[in-house]
């Protein structure tokens, strides 16, 4: 019978982890510099920073990459330390809810005004 907890070889996850890592290593410092270079800001300036559609799309893409990266990483941690299958699967579920919820919340935040 196929195991419900480890049917794949892991090569796909391994590659996904590396690909998103490279993307994040460029995108996150880039976004950080974009924000830090504009400081100090008042409320209007802060809003204007996230007004351009390109910034929102880039931020969303970065967040999706971050969510995928964090998913593989957190799953690795739980695979290593949580031996109880039921507990481990429950923790996976919590991680998925937190990550998917964060991305959805970010979308709602960035496109609230438009």
């Amino acid at each position: 019978m196929k195991s419900i907890t480890g049917a794949r070889t892991g090569t796909g996850s391994w590659l996904l982890q590396r690909a998103t890592a490279v993307l994040l290593a460029f995108a996150l410092p880039g976004l950080l510099i974009y924000v830090l270079a504009a400081l100090p800001l008042d409320f209007a300036g802060w809003q204007a920073l996230f007004a351009p559609q390109a910034v929102r799309v880039l931020l969303l893409l970065t967040a999706v990459a971050l969510a995928l990266h964090a998913w593989v990483g957190m799953r690795d941690i739980f695979m290593d330390y949580v031996r109880h299958t039921g507990l481990r699967l429950s923790l996976y579920l919590v991680v998925i809810v937190v990550l998917a919820g964060s991305v959805a919340w970010l979308v709602a935040t960035l496109w609230r005004a438009t």
Binding site: R18, A21, V22, A25, L28, P29, F43, W46, Q47, F50, L66, A67, A70, G73, M74, I77, V95, V98, L99, G101, S102, W105, L106, A108, T109, L110, R112
Partner: protein, 126 residues
Amino acid sequence: MKPSARPVYLDLRRIHLPLPGWVSILHRVSGAVLFLALPLGVWALSVSLADEAGFQRLAVGEAHPLVRLLLLGLIWAGAHHLLAGVRHLALDADWGGGLRHARQSSLIVLLAGGLVALLAAWRLFA
């Protein structure tokens, strides 16, 4: 047949990690910390972009010493995770895998992460 008795070092005080081991476990710890910080960051962005009052509330909150300490911890976690991650990518590409180079790059990653945290502490608290 039971295997012959061998030492199992589960006592944390008896486990001595080499430098690359410290980089590795701290990469893991910082990753988990950053995962926890993600919803916090989205919350802060949401509140700060919602209206003027929310923006001011966060601006005032950011000045609190405990919040700045949390911020400092997250900055270190981000810096260490990025640097250790780049090191792991280099190792994946078969670069710097020798014992001497692995130790040197571990020391560089640990020191550089600490330096970033030190600079951040200076900006946040001085």
